[in-house]
Symmetry: C2
Subunit: 372 residues, 2 copies
């Protein structure tokens, strides 16, 4: 199949720093190439791939000191993708929504994976306006704010099978990995570890936006002798950082769209203790790959009995459900569905598109204006 993958330009593919979307695009792209597909990746020029790379920018936008305007470069990328459209059987976007006006005017099927949270107020009218556009969610729970959208499937993220290795015998500590931010609740993780009298190693970055929260709410907690804050860790360090932990503590307090670190833990054989928010209950199997707790009392009790979890079952869950080839196969099924049964598109370039939207269009004249 001739497939275009369209990645954000903010980070390279794979990312040089933090960038969950760019990591997933990389894993998917490499898995599709491995399976023999003809894949073209639109991404920043410092991306590294075995697919055909179309370098839209010399390098990723985030690390460019000139602070390029992302709208400008994604506009150019959108144009280039659709200029090449007849070379592809399907176009897969991972870059929000700038492409939607063109997607509805071009015959080749396209699909967009929504990588972020969907409860932002402007997404409702935007997705409703382009409601024929096929979307993929990264968890079922992610869809909740937009249940009426044209969802084709939920495709959970996957990792290359050998990216993390099974760690059968962990050390005697817990791990926390991610950002320090109010919704990630590292404070809960610290409380759980202290209640269990178990060391906690924290591998986490602090974004500028979360600096004040870190200094006022978290830094005082780091003085406890059981807590070891090691700062940001890179991909290579993660394998042992997570794999050597008895459990990954993931006591989130927000609608996490996916939560890559959970499946990274499973890949290492490390069980997870989490809260039932966002995707968690789809990714976790309570009692098999860890425990889902509704409050701190339950979380602490779960952490105390984490030894009951068989780490091999965690790795098996990863291999069965969360590898990159598994993700690629699910996306291929989506692509085939779109090629076999293309969604009805509004009339192409120039024509009025029909349907509810045109009917709802308000055409008002001066005398009709309400005093806003």
């Amino acid at each position: 199949m001739r497939i275009a993958q369209v990645a954000p330009l903010i980070e390279s593919v794979p990312p040089q720093a933090y960038g969950g979307t760019e990591r997933v695009v990389s894993y998917l792209t490499e898995a599709l190439v491995e399976m023999g597909h003809d894949v073209t990746l639109y991404a920043s020029g410092d991306s590294v791939t075995s697919a055909r790379l179309v370098a839209v920018t010399d390098r990723n936008l985030r690390l460019n000191p000139q602070r390029p305007d992302w709208v400008t470069w994604h506009t150019i990328m959108t144009d280039r993708v659709f200029s090449d459209a007849d070379r592809f059987d399907v176009i897969h976007f991972h870059v929000d929504t700038l492409h939607l006006p063109l997607a509805r005017r071009v015959a080749v099927p396209s699909v967009t994976t929504m990588h972020g949270r969907l409860d932002l107020p402007d997404l409702q009218p935007l997705i409703r306006h382009f409601r024929e556009h096929p979307l993929v969610s990264i968890s079922d729970s992610q869809r909740e704010p937009l249940p009426w959208a044209n969802w084709q499937a939920t495709v959970h993220h996957g990792l290359p099978a050998s990216l993390y290795s099974f760690h059968p015998r962990p050390g005697d500590h817990f791990a926390f990995v991610g950002r320090i931010s109010p919704e990630k609740r590292v404070d809960r993780a610290i409380e759980i570890a202290i209640a269990c009298n178990t060391p906690l190693r924290i591998g986490a970055k602090v974004d500028a936006a979360d600096r004040l929260y870190f200094e006022t709410h978290i830094e005082p907690l780091l003085e406890h002798p059981l807590v070891d804050f090691v700062g940001e860790i890179d991909e290579a360090e993660k394998n042992d950082f997570i794999g050597n932990a008895r459990a990954l503590l993931f006591p989130i307090d927000w609608p996490e769209p996916f939560g890559l670190v959970m499946i990274e833990a499973f890949a290492c054989g490390t069980p997870v203790i989490s809260y039932p928010n966002g995707s968690v209950c789809e990714i976790m199997e309570h009692g098999v790959t860890g425990f889902v707790a509704h409050n701190q009392e339950q979380a602490i009790a779960a952490a105390r009995r984490i030894g009951e979890i068989d780490r091999r079952r965690c790795r098996e869950a990863f291999e069965a459900r969360f590898t990159a080839p598994a993700m690629a196969r699910r996306y291929l099924a989506v692509y085939r569905g779109l090629i076999d049964t293309p969604p009805q598109k509004p009339e192409a370039s120039g024509g009025a598109h029909g349907g509810e939207d045109s009917d709802r269009r308000q055409v008002v004249r001066r005398r009709d204006l309400s005093p806003y």
Copy 2:
């Protein structure tokens, strides 16, 4: 002629607060309707027009407390405009560049007026990528960073002839109108007024971004007894505020793309003292509508002899060159040129577009990647 005018959604048309672009779109739209054309205005729903209004949002984005995402709403607007394209002979955009990928795929001619400064680094590759798209500049000097773009014309801004009234007998003070910011150089205006022992009335707003500059550099200067800082003034106040001044001081220090306040002054019969930056030498006639000074010494000398300028000549210059009907006639000539000789567009939806850009496209594989 069936004309679409596409305005920014940031402010209503005309704007309720500061918004030079939205004011000009309003003046142009009303002038075209007055001349008998069939005009459709795409704008926020709180706009007021005698054209057909397509309300893309309920109200302007700037005053909406939910702080809507401008990219989302301009994406929706772009789609709606092109869905209606076959209802128009020409589409005139005033909203930057989100529409360029669609514009090249739709048969109806479109043109974009660039309302801002063009020396931003990302504009070069963007306009080069879409280099067939017809552009209009608001001054010749504005074009300097992009001389190779597909410029159709320079169309200077115009005001309704009766918006400001001729003030034959001014008071004995100077006026400064605009933003307080380093590039507007109100400090120069204060120095000129003090050197002439002439009162200066300052009608100006201070943006949040310029607050520190205002407090550290400008506020101390306002204590001088000749200086009267009255804060932001509205459109209705401007007529007498500018008209009663002996001169408008406009000693700018940046490449002003147009400078509406200069022609507002001319409309009142008030001469202008300015510096030769940006559009100034196109708008001003040195010795006729005021003086262009290269330094403060010249500016002070010019201010002392401002009585030599015949205020009727200022009003005549306005009536001859800077009315809204004059602006509308120039735009109509641009529209007719595009309808009679449509610019060559790259192949429409889906196809590869030809030309230099495709040739320069870098398709690189892993082994070709330079270590960035």
